[in-house]
Symmetry: C2
Subunit: 198 residues, 2 copies
Amino acid sequence: MEENRQGLLIVLSGPSGAGKGTLCKELMHNLPTLQYSVSATTRDPRPGETEGKDYFFVSREKFTELIRQNQLLEHAEFCGNFYGTPQAPVQHAITQGKDVILEIEIRGAEQIRRKFPQAVFIFIVPPSLEELRARITKRGTETEEKIRQRLDKASDELHYVSEYDYVVVNDQVETAVEKLKAIITAEKCKVKRRLVQF
Amino acid sequence: MEENRQGLLIVLSGPSGAGKGTLCKELMHNLPTLQYSVSATTRDPRPGETEGKDYFFVSREKFTELIRQNQLLEHAEFCGNFYGTPQAPVQHAITQGKDVILEIEIRGAEQIRRKFPQAVFIFIVPPSLEELRARITKRGTETEEKIRQRLDKASDELHYVSEYDYVVVNDQVETAVEKLKAIITAEKCKVKRRLVQF
């Protein structure tokens, strides 16, 4: 049987503090063929950051042009800088049969869902709000007020789970990564994703 | 997060000769918590067969009553005997949070799809028709004419793949079993299968 060689776009999202960054890194370590989607940004490179690996560093004018030309799968502004996901590299990789992974905030995931509904949307959640509080508190970098705000935000964000295909509880990194790997394997077996030809 | 404790009904089907029986056994060996759905039949027990383990052996009258009372997920007649899948044990196991596996012919799977659309439908296929021919020929028990008939039938049956959720190519048993396990893990992560509660 001929397999469909189209790659998957895997979108990891979820409330902040759920640990999606760690899972993404660990998953890529486990599946070296996964291609990480590099974001474009208008912010300046930090020491050690490499163009095309960490980010595509572009001017504000260039970024505005990318938006206008509909070349971004999603974009957002944080602290006065723009961040976005260029569509062309993602599309190119997928057409070549490569799987692409994207770790992104909930709002960005919503934009991608509209432009690329065939992506696999996975919502990462902490085991509980208590655990999330413990994780944030442990960092020791935030005031009680900030912690409360972050917990409120996370609590709100949890409601977005219903818009996702899968939910993975990040209780233990290894277990969660195994689930992510299983989801990717299963998605590749989906009939609707394959050109079945004998 | 509270998980939904409802079990899955996993339906393995596909053309005869694809090796779904072998995969089913191997999968159950790998996942001992999987519960095998025991069929009811009107045929006589063979030496070594145990009531309630291999089959539920019932009279023709009892079987007709089960059909009339809508207590079978599917049923069919082969060589003058009835075979069917009792709904109650499947429903009971699933409500208890146990996953149930069912290995069944394509026609039976169609009946189950109508009665139990929330089941996970997996289509097992041989790597190619050439390989299927090799497997059938290797058994050495069939005439050239019979082999041709079986291949024609399998070739027709392959078209049913489009009605399934997943397709797994049975090229190597270990690889195929890994895919089946991944599908089960992924299905348990599906948002629509979970009562998400924080």
